[in-house]
Each structure stands twice: as C-alpha cells, then as structure tokens.
Symmetry: C2
Subunit: 486 residues, 2 copies
C-alpha cells in the first residue's frame, strides 16, 4: 500500500478513534455521535474525551487527547468552533494522524470563522490531516465509521464512493441508494475542506481498489488545474459522476453562504466535463439514476435502442423522451415489422419501434417472443421495457380477473431474455398511484423493482429519467473508448 | 342549457345506455365492460345488445339496438371493427343520440381500417355523435360512467377535465391524480376522433360550469385554426394544460401508428402556446404537477419566492432549481437578514434566501418565526418549504430521540402561517428511501402530503418539479392579467 491509500488509511480504517466533545447524554450531539458509532459496529478502540466526565457509556473518558495512553489514528472533533484550534494543536502534539472536524461556524459564517479556519489550516500543514470543518465526516462500512445521522445506513460495503460538500446530501444520497441496492465503499462529507479537499479524495478514490464508481456533490474546488488533471486521469479508469451545485447565479450565491466556496462559471464546468470525460448530473434524482446505471449495467457503446411498452400513448412518450435525451430508436425494417405483426395482437399494437404490445397486461409468451425477435433481428444495443404491469397492483384495483401467475411470468421475461442474449435490458416502473391509499401498490412496485435490481437490471421511475441516464451512460463509454484508441 | 352543453348531455349523462357486444362472460371484454359499469354505479337503464343471449347479468338482452323498446341516449360499441359501420347505421336508424366506439383496428391500423373509419364518419354526419373509435370513451362520475379499466377510479366529481387521445393515459393520469386528491368532472379518451374531436370537447368543457381546469394529452388536432381560436377563448376563463405528444421526429412517427394523427411541428405548437395562453407540459409527471398547482393554489402573479429548507446543500439546489425554472429568489435586505440571524441557530444556518434553518429537524417555534418574519418583511409572493422532516421517518430509522410531537408541530407550522398571512405556501416532500424496506417511511410521507393537500397546500416530489410548476403557473396568471387589461 502506497500513495494516498497509505496516507488515508487512518482516516477510513482507524484502529483507534478519539471523540473530542463526547458526552454521556444521548440527546446531546457529543452523546449521540458516540452512540451512533457504537451501534454501527466500530471494531477498534474508542477514546472519549471530555474534561468533565470520567466515564462515557461505560468507556473511560480522558480530560484531553494528550492523556490517551495509546497512539490515536483518528480524532473526531465536536466542540464549538472557537475551541477547535487549541484542541487540534493538542492532537498534533499527541501525534494523532487525522481529525474530522464536524463543528460548523467557520468561514461559511463570518470573519471570526475565517480567522479560525486559517488557524486550523496552519496546524494541519504541520502534520495532521483534517477533514472539514462544517461537515458530517466519514461513512466507511468496512472501517466501522458512519456519519452522525447515518446510524441506519447499510453496514455492508460496495463499489460506490460519494464525496459530498453538503452534509445533508451526505445522508440523503446514500439513503436513496440504500433501497436501490447500492452499497458504498466510502462516503466523505468534507464541508469547508480546509485541508483534505476534493482533489486529495479524488486521488485516493482513484487508487482505491474497493471503489469502482465515484460520485460527488461539489460546490467548488480549491485547485481547478489539479482537479482537472485528476478528473481526466481517474475518468479513464472509473466513471466520475459530478453533481455541481451552484451553476446558476443564485446557486453560486447560496454556495458562498454554505461552504464558502467559489462556485465557478457554468461554461468553465461545461468545458471541464467535456474535456475530462466526467459525467455531469443536475440534481439528486439524476445523481441517483446515474449511479443505478453504472451499478447495474455492463458497458454500452451504442445509442440504438428499442422501447417495448404497453399502450400507444406510451410509445409516443417513449419516442419523445428518447429523442430529446439523445437515444436513437431506429425504425425497424419492413421484414422485422412483418415478423412482429405476426406476434402482437391484431388490435391496438404497433411495431415500428417503439413497439406497443397493445396492453399493459400482455400475454407472457407474446412479450417474450417480441423481445427475442427484436434482439435477434434489429441490431439494437439494448431494450427499454416500459410500463408493462408486473406487480400485483391490478389485483388490488379490483381487476381480479388478472391472474397473479401471468404477472409473475411477465416479470421473468426480461430476465430470461437478457440472460439468453446478453444484451442490456432496462426497466421503467413508474409510481402509478400517489397518496396513502396506494401505499400497498407502491410496496408491490418496489418489490418488483427489487427483483430486477437483484438480477442486475436497472430500474427507473420514468421514461425521461431512463433515457437521460442511458444517454449519459453511453456517452461515458463512447468517450472512454475513443480515448483508449488515441 | 344550450350550445355544446345540451348537445353533449346524452354523452356524459345518458339516461339510457345500450352496450352493443355485451357478454355474459366476465373474462370477455363485452362482459367486463358491463360489469365495470354496473359496479361503478350507473343510475340509468342498461340495454345489453347481443343476438346470441336473452339475458346478460340479469338484464334482458336485445338482438339489435333497433329492438330496444325505449329511446337510447348512448350506445357503447364493443364489437370487431368490420361490423361497426352496420351497427352504427342501426343506431342512427333507432335515433340513438351518441355512440362511443371502443373497438380499435381502424385508420391507425391499415387501409381497410381507413375505409371503415370513413364509413363511420359519413354515418355520424347524418345525425349521431360518435366518440372514438380506438379509445376508452367516457369517465364521468356524476353521470355514472367510467372507462373500461376505470372501475376503481373515484366515484366523486371534481373540477378537473382530462381529454386524452391515448387510452393508456386515460387510465394512468386520473389514477395518479386520485391519490393527490384530484377529482374529475369529465374524462374523455377519444382515440381517432372521427366525429367528436378535441375542438368539440374543448368547446364543451369551456362552457361546462363543473369544469374549472382543463388538461389534455394531445397527439394531433383535426382543425388547427379552430383549435387555436378555442384555446385562446377558453384559456381566458380556465387554465388549459396541454401535454402534446409527438413533438420530436420519433414521437411524431409513433403518433402516426397510434391514433393516425398528424402531429404538427414543434415550432407551430410553441407559437400556439405563446399566443393562446395555454400551458405546455412535457410528460405525465409535469401534467400531474401542473394539475396539482391549479387545483390547490390561489392565483399568483409574481415570481418572487423564498425557499426555506433544512441543510445548506438544499439551499444551493433550491437556488439552482428556481433560477433554471424562472423563479426569482431575491436576496434579502441586510435588515431582514439581521432579524433572521437572531432566530435561526448560530451554526449551520444561512439567511440570504434560500433560508437554511440549519437542520431538517428544526425547532417548530423557530421554523414558525422564520416563515412569519419572511412573509412580513420580504415582499415575496410565496414560500417554498423544502425537505423539512415532518413524517415519522426519523423514528423508523432508529433516531428515536426525535419526538413525534415535534414533527407534528412542524407539520402544522406551514398551515398556520399560510392561514395567518394568506400567502401561498408550497411543500416539497421528496421520496427519500427506495426499495420495499422503506415502504413504511413512504406511507408516512404520503400521509404528510395528504395532510397538506387537504389544507389546499400543494406538494411536489422535488424542488425542480415545484419550481417548474410554479413558474408555469405564475406565467398563466400573468398572461391572463395582461389580456384582461387589453
């Protein structure tokens, strides 16, 4: 282990962890933090630090970090901002390798905060790595660390990393990912980034063998040139999905009072995405969708797709959504259309691409024959199956004439076809009923989505979201291929 | 009652209803249709027509519509396409006032279908109004009619009408509206529109006192000039929200094989929206959101809003989303910022607008004071409250230190503030956890959404969707005001 991997080992996998500002009261932040970490299952040794307590949750408490009798890998600092520099200085004296400063109230707040942050920076420069301040810090399941509100985040690891300049999104993004089967290697809410910044973390994640997909919520970068070069390098090996907050004027203003970053101009960022191959997304939904794409899909290098749906209006919407997003739905040859016409029902179907199988409740054999015929003869790069009814919803809506068996069979069809042909299949399963009275239907829909995700078939909530994600996904792989040929 | 209201009375409120192609078998379409209508609660008299049966579900069956001993308001035709012209001719002979032809297989299919459709048109021209063919027909709760897959649609009426050239969206749109508390006056899936078309229906709905908001899924129009003039006229009285399918090249192609319409060029439609004041939306999510906006909001004629959220990254995303959509978040005056700084927590908050109250779990008194201060002093046209935690989710995620009481109090704050100041409050409540394991959390979220909708406070699933809807909503009212001053 060398380079950033060795350097950041104490941050993500601390054997010893001092919590400065620990408390015995579970309603206080310093109590809650330690409770959350304990319940998350940290395997190393905690050293609570609090001059007013001798014991915290059954563990011996120390008046200062300097009183801890063993070496300390990581210190978490939870005390108020004005007291942070002195405590960090003590950490440095003690030889603590890294500190995460969760406390807010620094350069994002006022001039006093700017001054405090400068002190922190100069202490860090003398030999201790610092995450934060004004952040939620580290979530790293394999290291047994979680962010303060991250008690219920998954305890198992996965290939996705998330760098978040926002604490809030540091919670909300993995929470969304959780139910979609997405697991994380490391998540860092790094706030004001006084020392360890997005560049250091990007370099680390580029080297990290556990991380295959890098995602970020970024408000600003400290060193544009280094970020650019790193992004270019890392993107050749791993997709880097960037949600850049503050690209509008109002957004840039909000960035200033959030993490005190300089947001940068939209055109500069556009050029950066183009030249580095990093993938731009615009909000939390797009970030989640894009992660789902890279998590579950094999590389796709072509833009020709077929949409198979149940209902003609859906075909129109699919064609509109795909064309807007840059996904190509080629009109099928006359021969293929003739073949499909012999498979689909005589009424209400259409076979040019999109293929409308005539009803959201197709016969499973028919559906299978359509998908197989398309994959055998059309030369498309994949199939989007949109809004075919596959959950028990129909039954709940009183249409008990729909047999559960048929729905189950239809559910299996895209899996069988993907397995047989090895071509990507993408599912669109929209939320159809809102309101509490449709809660059972929504649970059924989620079970179907879960079934597909477990089969490595990605699921999206709308045609628009599927098409946009797919277009950016293919763009990444096309770009990577072009670079590898240079 | 005069004009279109009188003319279409037998279509929406038939006293007698012949079902041609009725069947005793509930698995056949002709059996299912009649079962669905019966269970929906039609108050008039059914006349099942089937030459092979003497009785259908306990009702006397007639060999032909001509054998029915009473006058017939509406005939529903379910028999195969080639037999339709003759049956329609019989309806005309009998003096039936209107027919809805559910059957597909006409001009959208092939040349034979085109010929059949021409025959239907010429029969209709001689004195019977025809809805369809290739459609789901009428859903009109007050008339006791529902579309074939609409058994579970609400039986109570409301102010929204929906004209759908797609049968599929004829089901899916009201199903989505259902759980959001939206109720319909009339819904018409009119398919190929051989006789009654979008213009007739728009004229009718313009006159209809029960209809306050008109929504459409439109693939093409038969008479562009008349549509334009009607849209201009009706939009001055009622919002007309149009989802135009097939505005891309691929979409237009799909339209051709769906309802055989000519889709029209995107620029033409853009000009039409601009000149008539009709509201353009691009997909089913936008259509639903826009309907929610008009359903729950009073007129808003200004674009200045304040976003109040919990967490700084959310403020940045809010600013980006609003600016992109054309909603203005004015920076607050120094005085107002000073006042707000005395209310919000010392750490992690920001008060320039967006206002970040520092946490998704704010203190209710603090939240209330923030909203009231903003509405008293900022001159904004309304407030968007974004992603403040108000459901029991936190508890489920193990954070049992959050008291349910506080969440309930926070829930009430936007209602109280809206009631006191009379200014619009808009809620953003995103789905935070996906997957079946978060189903309970989602149900809790829906209950909170329901609570707000019942208070006439609209709810949207993301900041982007709220901002886009709001921008179009304000645009409609600004336009209407400008016209009224001409």
């Amino acid at each position: 282990m060398a380079g950033k991997l060795a350097e950041f080992e104490p941050i993500f996998f601390p054997k010893t962890h001092a919590v400065i500002g620990a408390s015995n009261s579970p309603t206080k932040f310093g109590g809650r933090f330690i409770k959350v970490q304990m319940s998350f299952g940290y395997k190393g040794t905690f050293f609570p630090v609090n001059p007013d307590e001798s014991e915290i949750f059954g563990m011996k408490a120390y008046p200062s970090v300097r009183d801890i009798p063993e070496p300390v890998d990581l210190a978490t600092i939870l005390i108020p901002a004005p007291a942070v520099p002195q405590v960090l200085e003590e950490c440095l004296q003690k030889g603590v390798k890294a500190a995460q400063i969760i406390t807010a109230g620094f350069s994002e707040r006022d001039e006093d905060g700017v001054r405090l942050e400068k002190e922190i920076a100069s202490i860090a420069a003398r030999g201790i790595r610092v995450i934060g301040p004004n952040c939620f810090g580290i979530y790293c399941p394999r290291g047994g660390l979680t962010i303060p509100p991250g008690e219920s985040l998954p305890k198992d690891s996965g290939p996705v990393a998330f760098l978040s300049q926002s604490g809030g999104y540091g919670v909300r993004v993995p929470r969304r990912g959780d139910g979609l089967g997405i697991r994380y290697s490391k998540l860092v809410s790094y706030g004001n980034a006084v020392d360890v910044n997005e560049c250091d973390l990007l370099e680390y994640l580029g080297e990290d063998p556990e991380t295959k997909i890098i995602t970020t919520y970024t408000e600003g970068v400290k060193n544009g040139r280094r970020f650019f070069e790193l992004l270019k390098k890392v993107s050749r090996e791993k997709p880097v999905i960037i949600w850049k907050g503050g690209l509008t004027e109002g957004g840039a203003r909000a960035v200033k009072s959030h993490t005190a970053s300089l947001s940068g101009q939209a055109q500069v960022w556009e050029a950066l995405f183009k030249q580095t191959g990093a993938i731009a997304v615009g909000n939390i939904d797009e970030l989640t969708d894009m992660t789902v794409g890279f998590y579950y899909l094999p590389p796709i290098k072509g833009r020709k797709f077929c949409v198979v749906g149940g209902g003609g209006g859906i075909g129109v919407a699919a064609a509109d959504a795909c064309e807007k997003a840059g996904i190509n739905l080629p009109v099928f040859s006359r021969e293929l259309q003739q073949k499909l016409l012999r498979i689909v029902p005589a009424q209400g179907a259409s076979v040019r691409n999109p293929v409308d199988v005539g009803s959201p409740f197709p016969n499973p054999q028919m559906l299978k024959a359509v998908l197989e015929t398309v994959l055998t003869e059309s030369g498309v790069d994949g199939i989007i199956v949109s809004e075919i009814e596959m959950s028990g919803w129909a039954k709940q809506s009183g249409q008990d004439w729909m047999r559960a068996e048929m729905l189950k069979q239809n559910q299996q069809v895209p899996v069988d076809v993907r397995n047989r042909f090895g071509k990507p299949v993408i599912m669109v399963l929209p939320v159809e009923g809102n309101g509490p009275e449709f809660a059972e239907a929504e649970t059924a829909r989620r079970q179907v989505a879960d079934f597909y995700l477990k089969q490595n078939i990605p699921v999206f909530a709308s045609l628009e979201r599927a098409a946009l994600t797919l277009s950016r996904f293919v763009g990444y792989w096309q770009n990577r291929e072009a670079i590898s040929k240079q």
